[in-house]
Symmetry: C2
Subunit: 419 residues, 2 copies
C-alpha cells in the first residue's frame, strides 16, 4: 500500500510568532485525510524568502505533493511569489485575467483598485492559476520533476474556496488514492483513563491495520477508530465492527459520531422527541444560547433566551424572587431553579436551562470562590441541578459550563424516557 | 545581535490529520516572542516514534532550545516518552512523587488510579520533572550537548500551567534574551489594501530594524510595528514613534492597541462614559452578548440580553408590533429598530443593539437571500441601522455581524460626542 504523502507549509510571521492560530492546516489535513492523502508533516515558517525556500526544498525532498498557504496578499510583507519564482527558476508575467477579476471584486465593493492590487496580478510564468472566487489572489499550481506544489492565500475562506473548487479535483485526477476509514465515537461524562479501562480488552487485541486514538476535549472525549488496508470494503467493515464493540461497552457516554458536536446531537434529540428549549443565562452570558443556535435549523426547537446579567433583570424579566436573591444569593441552587423553571414558562418551552456563577477571574468570596457555578435543567419531569467547581479562567468556565448544561439536559431527557 | 532561536514540535495524529487545531504552538510562540526568543519553525508530527525522533534530530541540529507538546497521556497511543528515551539514550525510573500527585488528583475527583495512571509515573531517568498542577503528566526538561528540550502535555491548560510556572523562568535563567518590541494598532472599518495606501509613505521609508505587518481578521485589520535592535530603549522609542505616525494617518479606524479585542475597547469606552448596554438578538443567537460578557467586569455596563429566536418572543418579551412583523418581516430595518429601542427601554440601558437576519445556510428567498442581515443601534441620540449582505456560512455570518454591531456602537458613541 503506497499512500500518497503530502507536506503542508503555512507561511506568516504572525503564525510562527503565535499572533494568530493556524487553522488552515488543520482544515486541509482533514480534507486530505478524507481523500486518502497522508499528511506527513506540517511546517510553519516566517515571511522570509530564504525560510520559505528552505521549507519548500525540505518538503520537496520528502513528498510528491506540497500544499502551501499564506503570503499572497497585496502588502509589502508578502514574499511567497518571489520565493516560488526563485525555487522554480522562472520569471513573472502580468495576468490580465487576474487583474480583471480584482477590478470586478473592487467594483462590487464600490472601490477603485490600487497600485498594490495591480502588483498582485503579476504571476510566476509557469503557474497554473486556480481561480479565487472570494478574494483577489488566485491559487497557483507549479510543477518540477514530476512533483506538485500548490500555493493558496492564507485567508481561511479564500483558501477553502480554492481547495473545494480545484485542489480536491486535482488530487483525485493525479494520484492513486488509498482511502483511510475512520469512525469517531463522541463521548461526554467520563474521562480518558476510565474509558480506556472499560475498553482495554478490545484495545489489547486489535486486528492488523486498525488503531484507536483518544482525543480529549472540553468536558468530552472523542475515541477514533481508524483502519487502513488494501481492501476498502473489508477495512470499512472492520472499522465499523470495532467501533460497535467499543460503543457497546460505554453506551451511556456516547452522544454521537464523527465529530458531531454535542449541540447538534441535542438538537436532533429535541427534534426527534418534538421538544422545545429555552435558556436563562447569567455567568455564561449567551454562550450556551450561541452553541445551541450555531446549529442550522435550531429555530425549530429553540425559542430564545434571557441573559440576566444584572439582578434587576433576573427579577424584572425572569421573575426570580427578591427574597431568594437576598437569602441565597444570585449564585445558588435556589436562584438557578427559579431561573430555569421561569424561563421555561415565560418562553413557553418544554425544557429550560439556567446558569449562574462566578466566571472570574475576580469576584469570588471564601464561601463562593471564583469558579463556583450552579446550573439547572427544568422540564416536565421536575428540576435537576448541579454545582460546578471550576477554574479561575473565565473563558474556560463559560465553555465548560455550557457543555455541562447540555450534558445535563441530555441525561435528564434520557432518564425521563426510562420512567 | 544573537537572538536565541527555538523550534516548537507538536505531536499528535489528531493535529497532523486536522482533527483538532493546534492552538498550543500559537500560544507558546506568543509567550516566547515576548521573552525575546525567536521561534524559527514549527513542526507537527504524528504519534509515531520514528517521526518524533526525526523531528527532534532536525530541530536539535538547528537550535539550542526545543519545546515539545503532546503524547504524554495515559493511553496507548502516546509514545513521546519512548522517543525521548531513545533520543537521549537513557532508561526509565519510577517517579514516586509523580505517582503520589496522580493519586492525589484522582482522590480529588473521588476516583481510584488505574494501571494506566501507574504507568504514567515511569519517567526518563535523566529528566528534570516540571510539576503539572492541573493534570497527571508532569513536564520534562532534558539536556544533551548543552542543548535543551522541554516536553509538556498536549492538553492546553496543562501546558500553559507548566509554561507559566516553570518554562518562562528556565528560559530567562539560561539564555541571554534580546527583547523584540512591537506595537499593534487594532483597526476596524477599513480594508488592508486601503490602509496600506494611507500609510505607504511611512512604509516606504522605514528606519533600519523596523518592520510593519498587516494581520487581517474578522472585519478587522491589525497593523503590527516591530523593532529589533541592540539598544532596547532606542528601539522601543522608534517603534512607538512609527506607530504614532501611522495612527495619526488612520485615526478613526484605530480602536485599540496590542491585540486588545474590540469588545474590551467597547467596554472601556462604556465604563469611561458611564454608559450601559443591552442587546436583542435574533440571528446572532447570543454570540454578541457572549463577546461582550467575555470581558471580565462587563457586568458593570452590560445588563443583559433578550435572545428572540422566535417571532413570539420578539412580540411577547421585546414588544415588537405584530403589524411590523407582518408588513416588513422579521428581517427588516423596521423590526431591528423596534428591537433595539425596546430592549434599551426594557433593560433600562443607554444603548441597545439588535440583530435580525438569515444566518444560513438555508432559509433565504429571492428578495432576502441567505446572508441578509439587519442591525440597529438605539441610544439617547436616536437609532442607526445598517444592512449587511454576507455569505452562506452560518458561523462566519454570526461572528461578522456581532463584530459589526460593536463597530456601529463605537461609531455612534463617537459621533454623538462630536455633536
Amino acid at each position: 500500500m503506497n499512500q500518497t504523502q503530502c507536506v503542508i507549509i503555512t507561511i506568516g510571521e504572525e503564525i510562527v510568532s503565535g499572533l494568530i492560530t493556524d487553522t488552515n492546516s488543520a482544515w486541509m489535513g482533514k480534507r486530505l485525510y478524507g481523500l486518502g492523502i497522508e499528511v506527513l508533516e506540517k511546517i510553519s515558517v516566517k515571511d522570509v524568502e530564504e525560510d520559505i525556500i528552505g521549507a519548500m526544498k525540505y518538503a520537496y525532498a520528502r513528498v510528491p505533493l506540497v500544499l502551501m498557504t499564506g503570503g499572497l496578499g497585496p502588502t509589502k510583507d508578502d514574499l511567497t511569489k518571489k520565493a516560488l519564482m526563485n525555487f522554480f527558476e522562472c520569471g513573472q508575467i502580468f495576468s490580465q485575467s487576474t487583474y480583471k477579476e480584482i477590478c470586478q471584486l473592487m467594483e462590487k465593493f464600490g472601490k477603485q483598485p490600487t497600485e498594490a492590487h495591480r502588483n498582485q496580478a503579476f504571476m510566476p510564468e509557469i503557474a497554473q492559476l486556480l481561480k479565487n472566487g472570494m478574494g483577489s489572489a488566485p491559487g497557483m499550481l507549479m510543477e518540477k520533476n514530476g512533483k506538485v506544489l500548490i500555493s493558496m492565500p492564507g485567508v481561511p475562506y479564500e483558501m477553502k474556496h480554492i481547495f473545494e473548487r480545484h485542489v480536491g479535483k486535482i488530487i483525485q485526477e493525479r494520484y492513486e488514492v488509498y482511502p483511510i476509514f475512520h469512525k469517531i465515537l463522541m463521548t461526554s461524562g467520563e474521562g480518558e483513563s476510565r474509558l480506556a479501562v472499560k475498553i482495554s480488552d478490545i484495545e489489547d487485541d486489535l486486528p492488523e491495520g486498525i488503531s484507536i486514538a483518544y482525543l480529549p476535549g472540553m468536558a468530552q472525549v472523542r475515541i477514533r477508530v481508524s483502519g487502513r488496508g488494501l481492501d476498502a470494503e473489508e477495512t470499512q467493515n472492520l472499522v465499523e465492527q470495532i467501533a460497535n464493540e467499543i460503543e457497546s461497552k460505554i453506551k451511556p457516554f456516547v452522544f454521537g459520531y464523527d465529530n458531531e458536536p454535542l449541540e447538534k446531537a441535542i438538537g436532533k434529540m429535541l427534534v426527534g422527541k418534538k421538544l422545545t428549549l429555552s435558556t436563562a443565562e447569567s455567568c455564561t452570558g449567551g454562550y450556551l444560547a450561541h452553541m445551541i443556535t450555531s446549529v442550522p435549523g435550531s429555530s425549530a426547537y429553540f425559542n430564545g433566551s434571557v441573559i440576566a446579567y444584572s439582578n434587576q433583570v433576573k427579577m424584572d424579566i425572569l421573575g426570580v424572587k427578591e427574597k431568594t436573591l437576598i437569602s441565597h444569593g444570585a449564585v445558588s441552587k435556589e436562584t438557578v431553579m427559579e431561573m430555569a423553571e421561569n424561563v421555561r414558562k415565560l418562553l413557553n418551552t418544554d425544557y429550560g436551562l439556567a446558569t449562574s456563577g462566578i466566571a472570574g477571574p475576580d469576584g469570588g468570596t471564601d464561601e463562593k470562590p471564583v469558579g463556583t457555578i450552579w446550573i439547572a435543567c427544568a422540564g416536565p419531569g421536575g428540576i435537576k441541578t448541579k454545582k460546578l467547581e471550576l477554574s479561575k479562567d473565565r473563558v474556560l468556565n463559560i465553555r465548560y459550563t455550557s457543555v455541562t448544561c447540555m450534558t445535563l439536559l441530555r441525561k435528564f431527557i434520557l432518564e425521563s424516557e426510562l420512567c
